[in-house]
Symmetry: C2
Subunit: 296 residues, 2 copies
């Protein structure tokens, strides 16, 4: 089996797979790239994880995830900084173990408003500050921090970074080692999205492009409102074309939190993801020989 | 009992009240203003509704709602236009029946993406076109059309107008009879909200200010995630101050869709709304003698 050379399986799409199983499923279905999560990596330990990745021959498109930067200054903020430094080291190690073309990218989720705080503006300022503090450390490690704006439905409890424009502002303030994630699920509704993708591209800030669909109605657990491309309301063509026009040539992750997919067999999900990618994303990508993709 | 002179009870907050009951509850609790909905008005007929409003001595702060403009050109679009023309007439008649200071304001909800369409950009263009078509009719009737941006959670199925900036763009394209609604629940998350409130004020486009809170977690029926001010995550002070600084001097509606409130007694809800308004909104409003408010 083969899959599109730029398609990357984000591990969360088959959440219940171990790292070894996820690598096995991805290679079995012809994927060339995988997006890893810290928890299944920690389950086997970083060294063994790196060996497994190296043996798989897959590229590592990103590590999910660092962040959660909204705590008030004090112990919780210090713990977040320490944890993110470890995540940066893990990202560097896993990307080094990945096949040629792996980019060391650590995805950052900002975090929600802490405790009973109603100070959204203050939480946002702290995110900018903490990302700025981490940036030199990431640069030294050769890791790109990828600030991910989350859909405004999550502004209170998960991520106070709500738009791509806001994420680019944070990245630009922090320096060259900080970029942004463009995740269709989180940004598709934004009237400014195409302009902001172009802006992110102009300063080389697109660190990751992730695709999945927005399901309507939103399920009771609103974290699980993502669907396979084609199952929801998103027209991927303008978004993918904008990302291509903005100069992004990296892997494209499919990251779907969805109970039905989590309940299905890994092989079935991985095959479906590849088929939908071929149908709905690949036609808007420039034709590329695999060798060109690997060598980028 | 008295309530703040600028507080208006949006009828949806006591959804199960008839028009007569809603007017009775509002006057009984010392409110000076009410925001009406078309359905309870239609239940008694427009003429009788106008007589009831006139007898109540209340101002009418707005009529909810017109809109639903995203149908493709054809019969459905024509029906939407016809229905909105009727809503404009109803708005003019009800505001004329209201006490001095009533502003004829028709709240417009854009509508979601029609059928199985994935063409969000196209739906947005049609909203701009149809609002532009209605604007001269509204102007002749002396009615302000108030385009309401809805939280992006509703972009697919309810309102393709997702940000205040986008709503202002539509209003500016349509002409002087079109303004915008600033509803805290829908806009609080927007990193641009304070700048956009100032922008709306600079061109005199704030037609309505509505306050209610964002509840976390979002309930299974995401339409019902609104709460009494103070029960959620919104800091009202910066928003209210921005609206005041932008020159808005009109009534301030409390519009809450919330099952618990709908299950409570009307009198209890109306009293709670007034108390929370006094605590969380009034301190950021300029002191005004009732006579000044009425004469504005």
């Amino acid at each position: 089996m083969s899959a599109h050379p730029r398609l990357s399986l984000n591990q969360a799409t088959i959440k219940h797979a171990s790292l070894e199983e996820a690598l096995h499923e991805a290679t079995g279905a012809g994927y060339e790239s995988i997006g890893l999560w810290r928890e299944p990596v920690a389950d086997v330990g970083l060294e063994r994880a790196a060996r497994l990745v190296a043996a798989s021959g897959l590229r590592v498109s990103s590590l999910c995830r660092g962040g959660f930067f909204t705590a008030e200054p004090g112990q919780a903020q210090q713990e977040a900084l320490d944890d993110n430094r470890r995540a940066i080291e893990e990202t560097a190690a896993l990307a080094a173990a990945g096949a040629d073309g792996s980019r060391p990218v650590l995805v950052l989720v900002a975090g929600g408003m802490p405790g009973a705080s109603k100070d959204l503006a203050g939480a946002r300022e702290r995110v900018t500050e903490v990302v700025g503090n981490l940036a030199p450390y990431a640069q030294e490690a050769g890791v790109t921090l990828a600030v991910e704006p989350l859909h405004p439905i999550f502004a209170a409890d998960r991520a106070v970074v709500s738009t791509l424009g806001q994420a680019i502002d944070i990245a630009e303030a922090a320096g060259p080692s900080v970029g942004v994630v463009v995740d269709t699920y989180h940004v598709w509704w934004d009237p400014e999205v195409l302009a902001q993708i172009a802006r992110a591209g102009a300063s080389g800030r697109i660190a990751s492009y992730q695709v999945c669909d927005w399901l309507t109605p939103v399920p009771a657990d609103n974290l699980l409102g993502r669907g396979l491309m084609g199952d929801g309301t998103i027209d991927f063509t303008p978004l993918t074309r904008a990302v291509v026009a903005a100069g992004y040539t990296g892997d494209i992750e499919v990251e779907i939190f969805n109970q039905q997919l989590w309940d299905a067999s890994f092989a079935e999900v991985v095959a479906q993801v590849s088929a939908r990618f071929a149908e709905l994303i690949a036609p808007d990508l420039p034709a590329a020989r695999p060798a060109e993709v690997r060598g980028r």
